[in-house]
């Protein structure tokens, strides 16, 4: 009885997830889909989206790993407040975050003016997309890595120190390799989350268009039919990406169990 209830609830749950996908693929105009897939504006959007998300993730890796290590290892006043601050971008509406970013990085702001001197602008540029994606999704990466560091017994690091490793070498040769799964998973999640970012990107950098902006733009300007074809394309790409991620994860499990 209990078993059956569980199965029925799970089934309904799965249906609720799959149904929108099915609907899209049942209603889409496949000729239009092929046409759009070859159009330069679509290919540009793909490139912008994936590159910007990648760049945002790389920046998060460079700054996020030391930060996460500090949070996980050191005790200092107001640490819990600092941890909470990291999560703020996730808890506010993304459009609001976009407005905040616009004010901080806009042409009239201090940062915007300084960046303007070396020829970088954040408003309606690729860098704006990177900034918006990074700001709203870096906490996913940081939290993943932080949990990883917290999970390692500090004694591994102590043993490494007693064996002659400096703090830096301990970090590079022991701590980092031990959380490589968290780093990779966190990067992938952040990258994927960056790709789907809409609100902040729309406000800070509507152009160059990302996939989510392009979909919205098509929907507003050309109607449902165009937007639907684009949506189907994006679904296909997402599925390919996640199948690849799953394969990678399974490969890990295979090598781990050996």
């Amino acid at each position: 009885m209990f078993r059956n209830i569980i199965i029925i609830i799970s089934f309904l749950f799965i249906i609720a997830i799959i149904l929108p996908f099915l609907t899209v693929f049942l209603n889409v105009d496949y000729n239009l889909l092929f046409e759009i897939s070859k159009s330069p504006e679509f290919l540009d959007a793909v490139r912008t989206t994936f590159l910007a998300a990648l760049l945002a993730t790389i920046i998060a890796i460079i700054f996020g790993i030391p930060f996460a290590y500090g949070i996980a290892r050191y005790d200092f006043p107001f640490k819990s407040i600092l941890e909470a601050i990291v999560d703020i971008p996730q808890t506010i509406p993304h459009t609001a975050a976009g407005i905040a970013l616009l004010m901080t990085l806009g042409r009239s702001s201090a940062i915007g003016k300084t960046a303007g001197i070396i020829g970088i602008s954040f408003v309606h540029t690729f860098w704006g997309v990177v900034a918006a994606m990074g700001f709203l999704s870096f906490s996913i990466f940081v939290n993943s890595v932080k949990e990883g560091f917290k999970k390692i017994d500090v004694r591994y690091e102590k043993v490494a120190r007693s064996l002659g490793a400096t703090p830096f070498k301990t970090f590079i040769f022991i701590s980092l390799p031990m959380i490589k799964h968290e780093i990779i998973t966190g990067s992938l999640l952040m990258w994927a989350r960056g790709i789907s970012e809409f609100g902040a990107v729309a406000i800070l950098a509507y152009y160059p268009m990302t996939l989510s902006i392009l979909t919205y733009d098509k929907f507003q300007g050309y109607g449902l039919k165009q937007a639907l074809a684009l949506t189907a394309l994006i679904f296909i790409m997402s599925m390919i990406i996640f199948v690849i991620i799953r394969i990678i994860q399974n490969l890990w499990k295979y090598t781990e169990s050996r």
Partner: protein, 378 residues
């Protein structure tokens, strides 16, 4: 056949020189487990690293019985151990444990006693002296006071590594630990016992440099209190092994050697053989037994040639039937290398009769006259 092989290695690899000090004195280099291959009848002789012998499956040859020991004396205190052998003109030559570290280590261990004595005797025989003379070396002997040994000898592994802890105070929220003075002698195996939460581990980690404290820790009269852990040269073995999960057995053991830039492959293989783990070298650390893991953890500390060894509940995570085996090993290692050892435990069964025992109670350390009731059949 064996002799020839040994000779060959001695000639081509120059192993002979390896334990010759550059200052034209004969010393047995630190950490080297030396076996003298010697056939007494003629000038057939060779010296090998024990590990070298293991590697090439050489058996060492016993000395013939006619070499007799004239006198061996060693007092309770390891520092004062010496051998007297007849020199020229009936003069007696004293050889101190300090200068023949390994020799005396063997002396204290019954099975190899004769071998060591014979080796020392040979070194001081005319034959032996001639051999050294040919090499342009002189024997190092007659040191009445080991404190006068040159610095390079003092710092050799296993020599004169007493540890002194002074005015040690640690204050934490839930407890404090105060130690006015504690001296652990060179080569001693000391137990620290106390209930869980008494601060045993914290005390050990303070010695290793992981924990800040007020107080002074002297290693060989050198203040190491402010040194970072990686500069202290202290081996640490935890209860739960803490083998690095992303490295295999070989890389785990080699880690410290790489960090400290030690390139002594002989010693590496010797330790593997000694701890009986060489067959595990290429295994992953996850699926090893507790006993194997603790041996590897011990090997990982030993190959870096630490000055002292700290054990934090080294047996607690092991199965009952392996405990006595590992405990025996820990004491043997302590004996063989005269490696000053502090063993922290909550389990009185791990204490072996003649070791000093300190108990942490009421926030301080008390030496306890421990009367053995029962132990792991050691």
């Amino acid at each position: 056949m064996t002799i020839q092989l040994a000779e060959k290695y001695y000639n081509s690899n120059g192993l002979y020189e390896k334990f010759m000090n550059t200052k034209n004195r004969m010393v047995l280099k630190k950490s080297i487990d030396l076996i003298a291959y010697l056939e007494a009848n003629e000038m057939d002789y060779a010296f090998l690293y024990k590990s070298e012998a293991f590697q090439h499956n050489l058996k060492y040859i016993e000395f013939p019985e006619e070499i007799n020991l004239s006198s061996v004396k060693f007092e309770e205190n390891y520092k004062k151990a010496f051998v007297e052998v007849p020199g020229k003109n009936g003069k007696k030559i004293k050889i101190y444990g300090k200068s023949i570290n390994y020799g005396f280590t063997v002396l204290k261990n019954a099975p190899n006693k004769d071998l060591a004595i014979k080796f020392i005797k040979f070194m001081y025989s005319e034959k032996g002296k001639n051999i050294f003379k040919e090499k342009g070396m002189e024997l190092f002997a007659d040191v009445d006071n080991p404190e006068n040994l040159p610095e390079d000898l003092k710092t050799l592994w296993g020599i004169n590594l007493e540890i002194i802890i002074k005015d040690f105070i640690i204050n934490l929220q839930h407890f404090s630990l105060k130690i006015d003075y504690l001296k652990i002698n060179s080569g001693e195996y000391v137990y620290i016992i106390g209930p869980t939460g008494a601060g045993k581990t914290l005390f050990l980690e303070s010695i290793a440099g992981f924990v800040n404290h007020n107080g002074k820790i002297l290693l060989n009269n050198k203040d190491i209190t402010r040194l970072p852990p990686e500069k202290r040269n202290i081996g640490f073995v935890y209860q739960n092994y803490h083998l690095f999960p992303h490295l295999n057995v070989r890389k785990n053991i080699e880690f410290g050697m790489k960090m400290k830039n030690i390139k002594d492959e002989d010693f590496f293989y010797y330790i593997l053989k000694r701890l009986n783990i060489e067959h595990l070298l290429n295994r992953r650390v996850q699926n090893l037994s507790g006993g194997e893991k603790q041996r590897i953890s011990l090997a990982r500390a030993l190959v870096t040639k630490p000055d002292i060894l700290l054990f934090d509940e080294p047996l607690s995570a092991l199965d009952q039937d392996i405990k006595s085996e590992i405990l025996k090993l820990l004491h043997e290692i302590n004996q063989e290398y005269k490696l000053t050892t502090i063993h922290v435990t909550h389990d009185k069964n791990e204490i072996i009769n003649n070791s000093r025992v300190f108990k942490i109670s009421n926030g301080t350390l008390m030496e306890e006259q421990y009367v053995q009731e029962y132990n792991y059949n050691y």
